[in-house]
């Protein structure tokens, strides 16, 4: 048996590298054939799996000095999701089938029990353990007697035996798992909901069985040989119905995750050896050229090689407008190509792809625990034995009270027995177990559809408590991409000639090509966008904290702040200029007002000097995102303090803050100082959420109670972040906090309901209301309450699915 594997290899630059890897692989024991493709950057190896393994092959390649990765199991993330889905679907369908059949059996059992009851009641012995059933049957008896009088002609013994068989069938077919699981748990010294159901129904069945087999024994002890077969069947039917609803609802809680996983296309159309081929997604390798037509899904992540299109990324980012993609832009697998056809080169695949990472992150999040659950967990783990103890106690108390109070032993047994069964049946540990996890699941799923990836229950809970939002300025409040905003000319150049905008920018941009400053990049980009040809600067000089100077096409050009202008004007040696010896104030006099105004708008003005005279001003600004001020006002309306943190000077910071509607600004903070500022706010008693791009401010994100990384729609795995915002705007922050708060409310409601249900239900079932109000709960009512208590908890969590964004 030989197997073939394709291993992506990177770092190979020449044919020599290729042959070296190929030769090394060929020498590995168990390898039949190895061929390395330099262009594709991969090695195709046929090997005997009994002798060697893919990981050995990868190791061998790495030993030669090149990087190699095992081809990631593309399917694992999605396959696991499929397995879960199928499991939950099968569970639901099976429960539904069983619930329906046992429900029908329950109705039959109830009808057949009516003649029995009449027979027993007429004997006027003690009995009536189940007042609800008695009332129901008494109400329906006249109707039944009219419709089916023949039923009353059948011998009660025959009916009892038939009911016995029917109940046995329901118990061993529909309810079998209650007993097998209860027994399996018991063997492990553990107990769960199945234990309670098994004990309750089992006890009722054994009692009825004895009453059917040896009625005389009961009669001689003064007890009516009542049977509770119908109760057993109906209890099983009701609990199965509840379970089926619960399974369906639980399935819905992961609907968001399922639809995400389904975004992954199954095939891709690749160009290999000059021809188009549809291949399975698992066979796509990094470097493949892939074709996408309008209306198709992008199969994997990659970079556009040719063509352009608008792509709908809403499923991943929540952004409703299609995003334009041109050459070199990144496309994400699972998104929908809307308008044009294009080719792209596959980059990340399989488990590393953005979609797979989101699915994995979501699943980890959905499965994570919220701290609020700790108490519920503690109670769950002791719940069943405690309830069983209460049930025994209930029996003892009822028996003694009735018996010692003068009642017959039979009456005492029957009453004690019925209440004990009701206690076992009504107790519901499931609602407690479901209260928090279902809310976490639904809420993280809802978050994903809003473009907010919450990385777990703990993050969800803490985000709900946040009181202060700290926003990093650059790239968070602002676009993070400075652009040229204003070009202003000096009233009159010394030479009398006025440069056009284009000419001015051409000189400045040419000079700035030698600079790596972000502001310089903005100017160069602007010039290129305008289609301006840029010359080569010579004699380039960088004056720290002031600006740059040099010569472009024979003109002496300098760009920088007023200090630079002054330096140049007064110095004879540094730069050739300053022959006129005029003061810097005079040079820039006509522009200072403009410069002040621009600075006040949060822009960075730069003076431009051409051939010894100040030619004008170029202003560059990192524009405030259009969505920022609305989002910030939302945050403030939610009662949150919003603070902006920046390394910029106070003036620019204040100007940006004003535009964005932020009152609190901490300016002039060095990157390392951000952590300190967050800590200071925390010490002041604030629960802080820090919002940043997740790259420069990772330490501050980690220090904050909640770190939110504003991604570009692709960086989902930002380590330091508790919450990743898929869309580049602050609205996600408001949505995340809103969702978290609502989720916490839902969790608290659920927990309250689950606790209150048991705290009230168990004593009532035990008969605590009987002495005063004469109220007793029938086991059947108890089972209905139990079945629907967990359903109501899940249903309450599901309401989060419909949560409206703020």
């Amino acid at each position: 048996m030989t197997e073939q594997i394709v291993i992506p290899v990177s770092g190979m630059t020449c044919a020599a590298c290729q042959s070296r890897v190929q030769k090394t692989l060929g020498n590995v024991e168990g390898v039949d054939d190895a061929s390395v493709n330099l262009m594709m950057g991969n090695a195709t190896v046929s090997f005997d799996p009994a002798v060697t393994s893919p990981s050995t092959l990868v190791e061998t390649i790495r030993d030669t000095g090149y990087s190699a990765e095992l081809p990631s199991k593309e399917t694992s993330t999605f396959a696991e999701q499929d397995a879960r889905d199928n499991a939950t679907l099968e569970e639901f369908l099976e429960l539904k089938r069983k619930a329906i059949v046992s429900g029908i059996a329950g109705v039959v059992a109830m009808i057949l029990s009516m003649p029995l009851m009449r027979a027993n009641v007429s004997e006027s012995m003690s009995g009536g353990a189940d007042p609800f059933m008695q009332w129901t049957m008494r109400s329906f008896t006249p109707t039944l007697q009219r419709i089916a009088p023949w039923l009353y002609a059948i011998s009660t013994t025959a009916i009892s035996w038939f009911l016995l068989l029917l109940t046995l069938f329901v118990m061993t077919w529909a309810g079998r798992h209650f007993y097998t699981r209860a027994w399996a748990a018991f063997r492990h010294h553990a107990a769960d909901m199945n234990t309670l159901v098994a004990l309750g129904t089992g006890a009722a069945f054994v009692y009825s069985l004895l009453a059917t087999v040896t009625p005389s024994f009961f009669v001689t002890h003064g007890v009516a040989p009542d049977v509770y077969y119908e109760a057993v069947v109906i209890i099983i039917a009701l609990i199965l119905t509840g379970n089926a609803f619960e399974a369906r609802a639980k399935r819905q809680t992961s609907a968001a995750l399922r639809s995400l996983a389904q975004l992954q296309p199954k095939t891709a159309r690749v160009l290999r050896d000059g021809s188009e081929k549809d291949i399975a997604i698992a066979e796509v390798i990094s470097g493949d050229l892939i074709l996408v037509r309008p209306g198709e899904r992008v199969p994997v992540d990659g970079t556009v090689e040719s063509g352009e299109s608008a792509i709908d990324e809403s499923m991943l980012t929540g952004e409703s407008m299609p995003v334009k993609k041109v050459v070199d832009d990144r496309v994400i697998g699972g998104t929908i190509n809307r308008t044009g056809a294009f080719r792209f080169r596959a980059t990340t695949l399989g488990a590393d792809s953005v979609l797979a990472q989101i699915v994995k992150l979501m699943r980890d999040a959905q499965g994570s625990r919220a701290p609020i659950q700790a108490l519920a967990d503690k109670i769950s783990s002791v719940f069943v034995p405690v309830v069983a103890s209460i049930a025994i106690l209930t029996f003892v108390v009822w028996f003694v009270v009735i018996h010692a109070g003068g009642g017959s032993g039979g009456e005492a047994t029957v009453r004690g027995f019925a209440t004990a069964v009701a206690v076992l049946i009504i107790a519901c540990p499931c609602a407690m177990g479901l209260a928090v996890p279902t809310a976490v699941m639904v809420s993280t799923g809802r978050g994903a559809t809003l473009g907010v990836l919450i990385k777990g229950g703990e993050a969800l809970q803490r985000a709900g408590d946040v009181s202060t939002i700290v926003l990093d300025k650059t790239g968070t409040v602002t676009e993070g991409r400075p652009t040229v905003t204003d070009i202003i000319h000096a009233p009159q150049t010394a030479s009398g000639a006025t440069l056009s905008d284009r000419e001015l920018i051409a000189l400045v941009a040419a000079l700035e090509t030698s600079s790596e400053h972000p502001l310089a990049e903005a100017i160069v980009r602007y010039a290129k966008e305008q289609g301006i040809e840029l010359g080569e600067p010579v004699e380039f000089q960088y004056l720290q904290g002031q600006g740059v100077s040099g010569t472009v096409g024979g003109s002496a050009v300098a760009v920088g702040n007023s200090q630079l202008m002054s330096t140049l004007a007064t110095s004879d040696s540094s730069v050739r200029s300053s022959a006129q010896g005029s003061t810097s104030e005079a040079l820039i006099a006509g522009l200072t007002e403009d410069a002040d105004r621009l600075a006040g708008e949060g822009k960075t003005p730069m003076y431009v000097m051409v051939n010894d005279s100040v030619a004008g001003l170029v202003a560059v600004a990192d524009a405030v995102r259009v969505t920022s001020s609305l989002a910030i006002s939302k945050l403030r309306k939610m009662g949150l303090d919003v603070v902006m943190l920046t390394g910029d000077n106070e003036r620019t910071a204040q100007a940006v803050a004003k535009q964005a509607g932020i009152r609190d600004v901490i300016a002039g903070v060095l990157p390392a100082g951000k952590v300190e500022e967050v800590r200071r706010l925390q010490q002041g008693g604030s629960v802080v959420a820090m919002v940043g791009d997740g790259v420069n401010d990772a330490p501050a994100l980690a220090q904050a109670d909640i770190g939110m990384a504003m991604g570009t729609g692709t960086d989902v795995a930002v380590e330091a972040a508790d919450i990743a915002l898929m869309r580049s705007d602050l609205d996600g922050v408001a949505q995340a906090i809103h969702l978290s708060r609502r989720t916490m409310r839902t969790m608290k409601q659920n927990l309250f309901w689950a606790f209150a249900y048991n705290v009230v239900g168990i004593p009532v079932a035990a008969g605590i209301l009987y002495p005063v109000f004469g109220i007793l709960l029938s086991p059947i009512l108890a089972s209905a309450a139990m079945a629907f208590s967990s359903v109501s908890v899940v249903a309450n969590s599901l309401r989060l699915r419909a949560l409206k964004p703020l």
Partner: protein
């Protein structure tokens, strides 16, 4: 309580009830549960199979510190209660397909007791990590 006179039957019922309650709580909370020792396999990984069926058998896993521990969860049922296993201290939450064996690997760095449980926290087991677990028990 003058109208009440407890006779021997009542006392028997009370006694039997209390005894059952005591036994029940002893059985579920105090009695010893099966434990298993993770044995080192050829590749230097300590490995143990835990059967998942209404609980974990063995429910206590003993392992050595600093060495990779592979727990093979052999889930022999479809009950949704046990469909996930969690080891909170190691951030593990894994889906266990029914009637399949699923490997979970962790490397305990410190001696101590780590709990593992089903997704809903109803079934419990623990991993006891000691410096010399394998030797002292061999």
């Amino acid at each position: 309580m003058s109208g009440y006179a407890l006779n021997s039957t009542d006392w028997v019922v009370i006694g039997a009830g209390l005894l059952t309650i005591v036994w029940l709580n002893y059985y579920f909370f105090a009695s010893t549960k099966a434990s298993g020792l993770a044995a080192a396999s050829d590749d230097g990984v300590q490995e143990i199979t835990v059967v998942v069926e209404g609980g974990y058998t063995p429910s206590t896993v003993k392992a050595k510190v600093g060495q990779k521990l592979r727990i093979v969860f052999d889930r022999r049922e479809t009950s949704s209660c046990s469909e996930e296993v969690t080891i909170p201290d190691f951030n593990v939450r894994t889906f266990l397909p029914a009637h399949e064996k699923t490997n979970v690997e962790i490397t305990p760095q410190n001696a101590g007791v780590h709990e593992f449980a089903c997704g809903m926290g109803m079934l419990h087991g623990k991993i006891i990590v000691t410096e010399q677990a394998a030797k002292s028990n061999d």
